[in-house]
């Protein structure tokens, strides 16, 4: 029960509070418009807040005590008006404080510090598929130079780091205090909605501005589908860097700010403010990744898609930590959906790649029987795949779709997977790719008119495959030594086939039978036959020399080995032939027409083989 004394005190307290409020009514007084309460004079602010509290108190005490004679409808209305004036003013102050202390984040420093979070091991490097590429009817290599490369170590996204959310103080503590104080009053007076609106609009504008600085573009899905993949690769790289900053620093800091300001009034409110601020930008951010995840699949896209996948995986826990409220469900869900699509895309691309290798249709034989660009491309590609082993092993879960041993389909090779027990699906895919590559190369080799060249071609290419596998520990580990042995056997087999194809008939000239007449040793070597032999041998050898100097075995060691192997068969046979029969020729006319070469000459000539000399 109020005593007259008390009510007087209350009244005077109320009245002076009311005066203060009215003084600052910007719709009414000039003075109210010109200055801000907060930010200039600490005392002014405190006085004002006290005034607001006073008015609030009288409002609530008025509603509690309904038997006080001081209260009637008019008074009630006046108090409400005063509150409204105060709230309008506080709203302005709130907005003003926010605006003044809103400065765009120092983006550059954020970039440096965010990348320093991750302990990067430079496992990646630029790889270029080499110069000659096949003709335009190839389904795989587009443009002249196909570059398979992925990001440099500083933004390589395959390292696994622990969650590195870093909240930045977006506002000085004093400002936050003021904002808190104002928010409390507004919410107490039932003006929560206004508070959230003001907060959201200013902060969102700031986030938008940060987005611009981070270079986050607004691309439509149509735009993304239309752009050249090379251009997109750069955008993906930039997006990954920017997204990391957004999720871990920008959004996290905004969240912290909301918590700081609205902490005292309950979590729902700071959630609401946070979502007001970041929902739109977050959706905009992820829309790009989504557009990439649904783009048309083709082999060259695999690695950037994996980079994107890795990056998202990496900061998915951060996304879940930052967007942990019910109202942000859609963002978490979208991120998960994008991840899933990226995974699907990776699987699809791998499958598509395998088909493309199988189907690769170019029929123009590579001159000189050297390494086919397809071989290079494929081996480079699977080397890169082995670099991404960590990610892909998790993603690739099923065996390659292939006919069984008895499929009977002549257009696909057979491969029995039960032989390869215990291998991961990824390894099976890689092995399958090599099988398919060989199958295709085999088909291509049949376009060579010269069957020796066909064998040489296979030897070169399978050897290259073996070298590439040996050269990469991860690849070797996945392919396995069994496979490697088989492949080695294959190219050795090809080498043998080549030798047979070329040299059997040449060496046939140096055989004994058919040269002796009447079967006795010393008498009757048919001079005619002998001359024929020499002539034939010379012609054949010259032809072989002419053509096969234009052939190429790129690998130095293999080239040497084959030459040695040829020499080992050729030279002794020739020497022996010369030894036995030269006298017969030299005793006749024009021996130089028949014995054109010494063994040393042949030895030297063999050194020309497989050098890839241009046609003279």
């Amino acid at each position: 029960m109020e005593t007259p004394e008390n009510s007087n005190k209350d009244n005077s307290g109320y009245e002076s509070a009311e005066k203060i409020i009215l003084r600052w009514d910007s719709t009414a007084s000039e003075e109210g418009r010109e200055r801000m309460i907060f930010g200039t004079d600490r005392q002014e602010a405190d006085v004002y807040l006290q005034a607001v509290d006073e008015i609030q108190r009288s409002l609530s005490s008025a509603s509690i005590s309904d038997c006080s004679h001081n209260v009637d409808a008019d008074n009630q209305s006046k108090v409400n008006t005063t509150i409204q004036i105060a709230m309008a003013r506080l709203e302005d102050e709130f907005r003003n404080i926010l605006i003044i202390h809103t400065s765009a984040l120092e983006i550059d420093s954020l970039f440096d510090s965010s990348t320093s979070f991750s302990s990067s091991t430079p496992t990646h490097h630029d790889l270029e598929v080499d110069e000659d590429c096949i003709s335009d009817d190839s389904g795989i290599s587009r443009n002249n130079l196909l570059q398979l490369h992925h990001c440099e170590s500083s933004d390589s996204s395959t390292y696994r780091t622990s969650s590195s959310i870093r909240e930045v103080d977006l506002m000085p503590a004093e400002a936050i205090c003021d904002l808190q104080a104002i928010a409390m009053r507004m919410i107490a007076a039932g003006y929560l909605r206004e508070c959230i609106q003001v907060y959201g609009s200013v902060r969102k504008s700031s986030v938008d501005s940060s987005f611009r600085k981070l270079g986050i573009e607004k691309l439509s899905i149509g735009d993304v589908q239309r752009l050249e993949w090379e251009a997109l690769e750069g955008k993906i790289r930039r997006w990954i860097r920017a997204a990391r900053v957004c999720v871990r620093i920008l959004f996290a800091s905004e969240k912290k700010l909301c918590e700081q300001i609205f902490d005292c009034v309950g979590t729902d409110i700071d959630d609401a403010c946070f979502m007001e601020t970041v929902k739109g930008p977050a959706i905009q951010l992820f829309n790009f990744a989504e557009a990439i995840s649904i783009s048309r699949r083709s082999p060259e896209k695999l690695f950037k898609i994996l980079d994107l996948y890795d990056a998202l995986m990496e900061f998915l826990p951060d996304i879940e930590a930052v967007f942990d409220s019910k109202s942000s469900d859609s963002i978490r869900v979208q991120a998960a959906e994008i991840l899933s699509r990226l995974a699907e895309a990776a699987r699809g691309i791998l499958s598509e790649f395998e088909n493309a290798v199988l189907r690769e249709p170019s029929r123009v034989p590579v001159p000189g029987g050297t390494i086919h660009p397809l071989t290079r491309y494929v081996m480079n590609y699977i080397s890169l795949i082995s670099d991404y082993k960590q990610t892909l092993i998790e993603l690739i879960m099923s065996k390659p779709s292939t006919g069984s041993r008895y499929s009977g389909d002549p257009s696909t090779p057979d491969m029995e997977f039960t032989e390869l027990e215990g291998k991961t699906p990824l390894a099976l895919h890689l092995i399958w790719i090599i099988v398919v590559l060989q199958f295709n190369l085999d088909g291509k080799s049949k376009h060579y008119r010269d069957v020796s060249l066909a064998h040489l071609f296979m030897m070169n290419n399978v050897h290259y495959i073996v070298q590439k596998v040996k050269g990469s520990p991860e690849l070797r580990e996945m392919i396995g030594d069994d496979c490697l042995r088989k492949l080695t056997g294959k190219f050795r087999q090809a080498a043998t086939s080549y030798q047979r194809a070329t040299w059997v008939s040449v060496l046939y000239c140096l055989r004994d039978e058919g040269l002796h007449v009447s079967g006795s040793f010393s008498s009757g070597v048919s001079k005619t036959a002998l001359r024929e032999r020499f002539k034939t041998f010379n012609a054949m050898f010259e032809e072989v020399h002419r053509t096969q100097s234009m052939w190429l075995i790129p690998d130095g060691q293999l080239r040497e080995e084959l030459r040695i192997s040829i020499s080992e068969k050729l030279l002794p046979a020739y020497r022996s032939f010369l030894g036995r029969f030269r006298s017969h020729i030299e005793s006749g006319k024009h021996p130089e027409n028949y014995i054109k070469y010494s063994a040393e000459d042949l030895e030297t000539a063999v050194l020309d083989f497989f050098e890839g000399y241009p046609a003279s």
């Binding site: 209305s77 302005d92 907005r95 605006i99 649904i294 048309r296 029929r363």
Partner: protein, 392 residues
């Protein structure tokens, strides 16, 4: 067969086709049945959308619940369409005429539809914003008796709301969207010079040159009913589904504020006479077109029924708060009227509260479906390459 035969009735067309083929194998029969069924379902569902508003319970055209029905309609048709597409016996059909042209066009339309979905989702955020502002108004006017303070509060919120709706609309109709920027050094904002506090504009999440109207216009490119022999097989359902897709996107954009809608009305729907759902779609198009014309005269924001109500009520309540401010006392009758209008506004807000999120989720579902079908079609196209024999 002369082309005019295909202008005959739906049933007539089927019988002609049956006469053409003497021996039909069971699968072909099944396919035809599926196509018929598809067409039938489409026309039934279209008719439901168009039902007279006198029916109870019918959803007002372009209300949130009507839009949800529309999206349901899309999803059902899409599911059936996909079934027809994927059950086709001969997958290589896709690479042969006329599908070799129609499918890529369809895929292109799909991509545009995806962008429209995203733009509309952003637009719904704006609608949510209006809802929040309207809730302030409701909250202010809920208290009885309405005092000066509440009236002022309501007026402030109403001013923001109305200018937000107008600004967004202008930006949606403007040839280019200008970006707002606050001068951060600015101190002291007077309430007299109040700039709408929402400086978010719907254009914020969308690329500058992107125009919803232009996208939809582009979607109608090459959208012609299949003629002659093309009319059999998959060409017809592809056409039907395309028309549905374009119509749904068009209706969404008409209802919900999103960037750049100039010329939306001018978009012509090539509805062929011979399909049985032609009437319904023409009818819907006309109705929505009428609303749009009215809108252009009045200069209101998007056609969403709830938004129109909000605008109407907003204006009424604005008058009320004005009269409160300038005339002081108000009659009990006026107070009651205002309270009734406030209650209506509250109801509209409630419908938004209940319906906007599900609507957004449905749009997302539509997005997913379109992506899925597109991906499968792309895969199928790639597969077709596989079946050609490699050269030995």
């Amino acid at each position: 067969m002369p082309a005019t035969d295909y202008q005959a009735s739906f049933l007539g067309r089927i019988s002609i086709r049956r006469n053409q083929v003497i021996a039909m194998d069971g699968n072909h029969e099944q396919e035809l049945q599926d196509l018929e069924l598809f067409s039938k379902h489409v026309s039934e569902r279209f008719a439901e959308l168009l039902s007279s508003p006198d029916d109870v319970p019918f959803d007002a055209l372009l209300s949130i619940s009507w839009l949800r029905k529309l999206l349901d309609f899309f999803l059902c048709c899409e599911a059936e369409f996909k079934g027809i597409l994927m059950m086709g016996n001969d997958p290589s059909q896709i690479s042969k005429p006329p599908l070799d042209r129609l499918i890529p066009e369809f895929l292109d339309r799909s991509v545009k539809a995806l962008d429209v979905c995203n733009a509309v989702t952003t637009g719904l955020e704006s609608v949510r914003h209006y809802q929040k502002l309207a809730e302030i108004v409701v909250s202010a006017l809920e208290q009885k008796p309405i005092g000066d303070g509440q009236s002022r509060r309501a007026k402030k919120a109403l001013t923001s709301l109305m200018s937000a709706m107008n600004v967004d609309d202008k930006e949606c109709s403007a040839a280019k969207a200008t970006e707002r920027s606050w001068s951060f050094s600015r101190r002291g904002v007077s309430s007299k010079d109040r700039v709408p506090e929402h400086f978010r504009s719907v254009s914020n999440q969308v690329a500058k040159n992107w125009s919803a109207a232009k996208q939809i216009q582009a979607m109608t490119n090459n959208l012609v009913p299949p003629r002659g022999a093309d009319g059999s097989g998959l060409a017809s359902p592809v056409y039907t589904m395309s028309v549905i897709m374009v119509f749904v996107m068009w209706a969404l954009v008409a209802a919900i504020p999103c960037q750049e809608r100039n010329g939306l009305l001018a978009i012509h729907f090539p509805a062929p006479k011979q399909v049985n759902w032609a009437q319904s779609i023409i009818g819907l198009h006309e109705k929505i077109g009428e609303e749009w014309k009215k809108k252009e005269k009045k200069g209101t924001a998007g056609l969403l029924d709830e938004m129109q109500k909000m605008e109407k009520l907003g204006n009424i309540l604005m008058d009320f708060t004005d009269s409160f401010q300038f005339h002081g006392d108000i009659t009990d009758q006026k107070a009651e009227e205002a309270a009734a209008h406030a209650a209506e506004l509250a109801e509209t807000c409630q419908r938004m509260e209940e319906g906007l999120l599900p609507l957004q989720m449905q749009i997302r579902e539509v997005f997913h479906r379109i992506v899925k079908t597109r991906t499968e079609l792309l895969n199928a196209l790639d597969q077709v390459g596989k079946s050609s024999p490699p050269l030995l």
